[in-house]
């Protein structure tokens, strides 16, 4: 794709003798909201770290036309990220942090950051070490939103936050960050909470991409069937990618199946992201 802001080809990463990533290939165009979803240890964070220049790798990674590992500092003028752990320097006060960022980061706006903090309990004179988990998340979000970044990467940004904070967090990103030129890449385990905002999904399993597609194509490709009891076997014969029994009902997920054929076997719907995740990420891949 010509307007890709991220281009990854043959991305591999080894820790010792263990290969964590097995040659990933993908592009991320501008203006999209990507969800990178996978189990613990699937390679999500390693993939993000490679894209952010935080770790070495084999293969080719280009972010905004730069090799992130060679030019991380230059890249960070246009890329912002929040990692899965609280990382703001604890010895600073909030006001000192903003002053420092104004001096260090050419694309940081102190005024914007102050605006984003309005209505929160985070005060400029507060020591970062004394902020609660929720306040830290609000502060870090205000910091990254105040950076005029073309790519925002969020690695489990709401880990440990309660549902109110999580919902506010994602709403704020949609309202205050996203434009046509900006791109957002999120990893999280709470897939249901971000499903509404995603434009594209990537499922990663054991270091390989098992799914990469726009969200609006999911209903065309995947069908969930709640089979009539007497037609379950007939449905199984059509080779669903996943099947399970829930409350006495047989639920199956089909990939590129004939919709007309399935309609005769039960009730059809589009699987939710979490259903699709469970269906495609089961380690034995096929029918359970």
């Amino acid at each position: 794709m010509t307007n890709s802001i991220v281009t990854v080809r043959g991305l591999k990463k080894q820790f010792g003798r263990t290969e964590i990533l097995h040659g990933l290939d993908f592009d991320i165009p501008a203006g999209r909201i990507y969800g990178l979803i996978g189990h613990n240890g699937a390679g999500k964070t390693t993939t993000l770290n490679a894209m952010l220049g935080l770790t070495s790798y084999e293969g080719s990674v280009q972010v905004l036309g730069e090799d992130p590992y060679q030019h991380r500092a230059r890249l960070m003028k246009d890329v912002a990220f929040i990692s899965d752990v609280a990382s703001l320097p604890r010895f600073l006060k909030v006001g000192e942090l903003f002053q420092m960022l104004s001096d260090i980061h050419p694309n940081f706006s102190r005024e914007k950051a102050l605006k984003f903090l309005e209505g929160t309990d985070v005060k400029l004179g507060a020591l970062i070490a004394n902020l609660s988990k929720g306040m830290l998340a609000q502060l870090h979000l205000a910091v990254v939103l105040a950076i005029d970044a073309k790519l925002l990467v969020l690695d489990e940004p709401t880990l440990g936050l309660d549902i109110t904070y999580r919902k506010r967090f994602y709403r704020r990103i949609l309202e205050d960050y996203m434009t046509e030129e900006r791109t957002l890449l999120i990893t999280t385990h709470q897939v249901d909470e971000i499903e509404f905002m995603l434009t594209d999904i990537m499922f990663i399993r054991d270091g390989s991409l098992v799914l990469h597609m726009p969200m609006d194509q999911v209903p065309e490709r995947f069908i969930q069937l709640v089979a009539q009891p007497d037609k379950a076997e007939a449905a199984r014969a059509l080779k669903p990618v996943f099947a399970e029994t829930r409350f006495g009902q047989t639920v199956m997920v089909f990939d590129n199946a004939d919709r007309a054929q399935l309609e005769a076997l039960g009730t059809l719907s589009t699987p939710t992201l979490s259903d699709l995740f469970v269906a495609l990420m089961s380690r034995d891949t096929g029918v359970n």
Partner: protein
């Protein structure tokens, strides 16, 4: 312009992170000194043996020089602990993620840490040393009122001595920091890999090298071996004992030019240059190591 602001921000960040060791604690010592001087006069505990009553000016000169020496020793200890942690400090509390999200190279961050330890903190300590020099002037003047025969300090002459000693002290501090830069870089470089274990390792590693050398080439080199001899030479810096004796015993006013020329003459400039190149190399290697680390 932005580059300058970025450097300033990194220096300010180091200052904010370490101000307790380099500002608040020294100010606490100053407050304690002030309190003890006030208490000494308040409780009339000033006593000088009748057979030893030096000139007030000489007392002031030697006292101020001693204070500069005390603060230099404090600086050396504080810098040792600073370098034993600073290069590794960002790994605490996952702060490395934050710093890696900034448009600043690892080399620039480590260089700012080294330069802070080499310029900002010594300057802070030196200013505090100057303040204690002025406090000591007040103390000696007050003592002149209390002790008959001690002699009054002429303010203009005292100011001249203060300026002379301060100038000499500034040059001496600068040269000392230049001379010992490789040692601090060594501690800092080790700390980026081993954290606070760098403090003992800074001595243990050269010690082991010296032992290995002695075991391998016992008897064929100089006493103690080449490593120990070189490190022993590198550990020496400053004026000779004769110079210090002259400082104290000389009845003439302190002459910054004289003692500066003596200390400059004692410097091995080749070793100084080698040390600075070594420091630069260590900082670069440490930055390359840091570039490969996230936590």
């Amino acid at each position: 312009m932005h580059t300058l602001r970025s450097w300033r921000a990194l220096f300010v960040r180091e200052y904010l992170e370490h101000r307790i060791a380099f500002l608040w604690f020294p100010l606490g010592i100053v407050a304690l000194l002030a309190l003890s001087i006030i208490a000494a006069f308040g409780f009339q505990r000033i006593r000088v043996e009748p057979f030893f009553l030096p000139e007030a000016m000489k007392v002031y000169e030697v006292g101020y020089l001693a204070l500069l020496g005390f603060w230099l020793a404090y600086l050396a200890i504080a810098l040792f602990f600073y370098f034993g942690d600073a290069f590794n400090a960002d790994r605490r509390n996952n702060a490395m993620f934050f710093w890696k999200s900034m448009p600043v190279t690892d080399l620039k961050i480590l260089a700012s840490k080294f330069l802070s330890g080499w310029t900002v903190f010594p300057l802070v300590i030196f200013v505090i040393a100057m303040v204690t020099g002025l406090m000591f002037y007040v103390a000696v003047t007050a003592a002149a009122w209390v002790l008959p025969g001690f002699g009054l300090l002429n303010p203009m002459t005292a100011l001249g001595a203060f300026v002379q000693i301060t100038l000499f002290g500034l040059i001496y501090y600068a040269l000392t920091l230049l001379w010992y830069a490789p040692f601090f870089a060594w501690v800092g470089g080790l700390s980026s890999v081993f954290g606070r274990w760098s403090l003992p390792l800074a001595f243990v590693i050269p010690g082991l090298l010296a032992v290995i050398e002695n075991i391998s080439f016992f008897g064929s080199g100089p006493v103690g071996g080449y490593v120990a001899q070189y490190l022993g030479y590198r550990a020496q810096f400053g004026l000779s004992d004769a110079d210090y004796t002259l400082m104290v015993m000389n009845s003439l006013p302190f002459d910054a030019g004289l003692f500066t020329s003596r200390v400059l003459a004692s410097v091995d400039w080749t070793q100084m240059a080698i040390g600075l190149v070594f420091s630069g190399a260590v900082i670069w290697l440490a930055s390359e190591y840091r570039r490969r680390r996230i936590v």
